[in-house]
């Protein structure tokens, strides 16, 4: 049992090498957070959740690169499973753009959307590089994983971690989880599993993810931005405004020149009677 103290950073270490794709995390999350869920999606695989959104705060991704035809040596490449979740980024894109202050960092260092403050503008959805947040059709506000904020306040670990039967999802203080993860990585490398790698355990991705992962392939294979692509929305503020300002200056100068008074002798001598009638607002 993890002791939970406000002021300390908590998160998840999701070890995909032991995920069996049972989706107990998804079920436990929906049970605890009273999420009715979406209609299931039926595609070409075991994934009927589709994606993280306002109802799915955990989503077991199935990365299926196994050939459908009869197996022969060398056919099977990988069948990867990963229970995806909000990363609770240290430098969070959603928190950065939120205009209402609904997105806050809690006393557990998690990123939380206050449902009574959010007005559903969806700027955070445009910002989140992981596609975690969705506008909920029941509450009409943005929703995502809360790191079970209410459970943490009551001294309990999040529902998904509690339900995970293989300890693929581990909850705890981030520094302790990082130590565990690096131990686990060493073990796997020692067993000759060279493709195992950590994602978000250091500060290379968004300053560090409080919910980080051990992956069995490159981040791109799991549709996660790698360190080079993990960029914040605010990177575009300066250059965007600068280009707008330059355009504004050119437009004003051009406008002043184009609209300047010209000698149009035909028109100017026309004595114009002062018109008293008001003009409409059209």
């Amino acid at each position: 049992m993890v002791e939970i103290t406000p002021g300390r950073a908590y998160g998840f270490f999701t070890d995909t090498s032991v995920c069996i794709g049972c989706k107990a995390c998804e079920v436990a999350c929906k049970e605890w957070n009273q999420l009715p869920g979406n209609e299931p999606v039926f595609g070409d695989g075991f994934d009927n959740t589709g994606s993280l959104d306002s109802q799915n705060w955990r989503h077991v991704k199935f990365i299926d690169n196994v050939a459908d035809e009869t197996m022969q040596a060398g056919d099977g490449k990988a069948w990867l499973m990963m229970s995806d979740v909000c990363k609770h980024c240290k430098h969070a894109s959603c928190l950065e753009v939120c205009p209402t202050g609904a997105l806050i960092r809690t006393e557990f260092d998690s990123v939380y959307i206050q449902p009574d403050v959010c007005n559903g503008c969806r700027d955070c959805i445009a910002a989140c590089p992981y596609g975690v947040i969705g506008l909920d059709e029941h509450s009409n506000v943005a929703q995502k994983c809360t790191l079970c904020y209410d459970r943490l306040q009551g001294g309990m670990e999040p529902a998904c971690a509690k339900a995970c039967p293989t300890q693929s999802i581990q909850f705890g203080p981030v520094d302790e989880l990082r130590a565990k993860a690096s131990q686990r990585l060493d073990d796997l490398h020692g067993q000759g599993i060279a493709q195992a790698q950590l994602y978000g355990a250091d500060d290379s991705v968004y300053g560090g993810l409080n919910a980080f992962f051990l992956l069995m392939d490159k981040p791109e294979a799991y549709h996660l931005p790698n360190a080079a692509n993990a960029v914040l929305p605010s990177r575009n503020n300066a250059r965007g405004y600068l280009a707008t300002a330059v355009t504004a200056v050119l437009a004003v100068i051009g406008g002043l020149v184009a609209l300047r008074r010209r000698r149009e002798p035909v028109r100017e001598p026309v004595p114009e009677p002062v018109r008293k009638q008001p003009e409409g607002g059209e």
Partner: protein, 307 residues
Amino acid sequence: MVLAEAEHFVRAPNWTWYILFYFFLAGLSGGSYVLATLLRLRGDSAAEAVARLGYYVAFPTMLVCPILLTLDLGQPLRFWHMLVNTTPGQLAPIFKYWSPMSVGAWALVAFGLFVTVSFLDALRRDRRGIEGAGLLAKLWSIAGAVVGLFIAGYTGVLLAVSNQPVWSDTWALGGLFLASGLSGSAALLGWLARHRRAAQPAAGAFVRAERVFLLLELVLIVAFVLTLVPAGTLGRAFGFPWILLWALALLCVLPWLRSRERTRSAVAADGTVAAPARVVVAPGLILTTLALISVLAIRAAVIFSAQ
């Protein structure tokens, strides 16, 4: 196989029609205010007559903006949360200079104030038959025009400050929206000026202004294209069916680039006919409508192609 939906790194915010028409009207309102102010600074009576038309256009177009934005919210009654942080225990105005949506909300409040005052002032001057504009009115207009430039352009920056494909791959959108908003406003005011007698002598100037803004717009479209190439999202922004919108946007403004100078003889009020001279003829309703369609098409292509 992974479901296509799960392949998105980023989810689309579903900013659609309300936002499109907000961007459109913000461009026209801001643009009209700016052009009105440039003409007001020119000082002659014809220019002031058109300037007032500009303030008349800026007011109703501005009024619709917050309504559209409010309707777009998931919780429309919480529109004021854009300005006031209602986090328990932290009730205070909220302003985040690094979030264009936060800045834009405040800018819209400020612009609303400038536009409303300028509109009422123009109405008052027209009713009383006051021809000119005083120093105070000019200073007020200049300050309002700075906010107007912001309102017409920041919407592009708002899109860029995200992690959406296309939008966040370029720095050109703010300038592009500003230039196209100004060009739409120039077309609209030029057409309106034809219908206000005192403003008619200034109508032709808008055709020249229109060309300046269209040139800027074209340069920024090129910049937009060039910035999307390294990002690999050019096909997304200009692929089918969006290429049709871009083509529409360009086709609609082509007639504006033709020379509109005509030889005209003017008949003065006392019946004397002046010698023929070259004057620029402001376009009619059709060309004006085309210019506005172009403004709308550019924004639609940008907004919808990324999502």
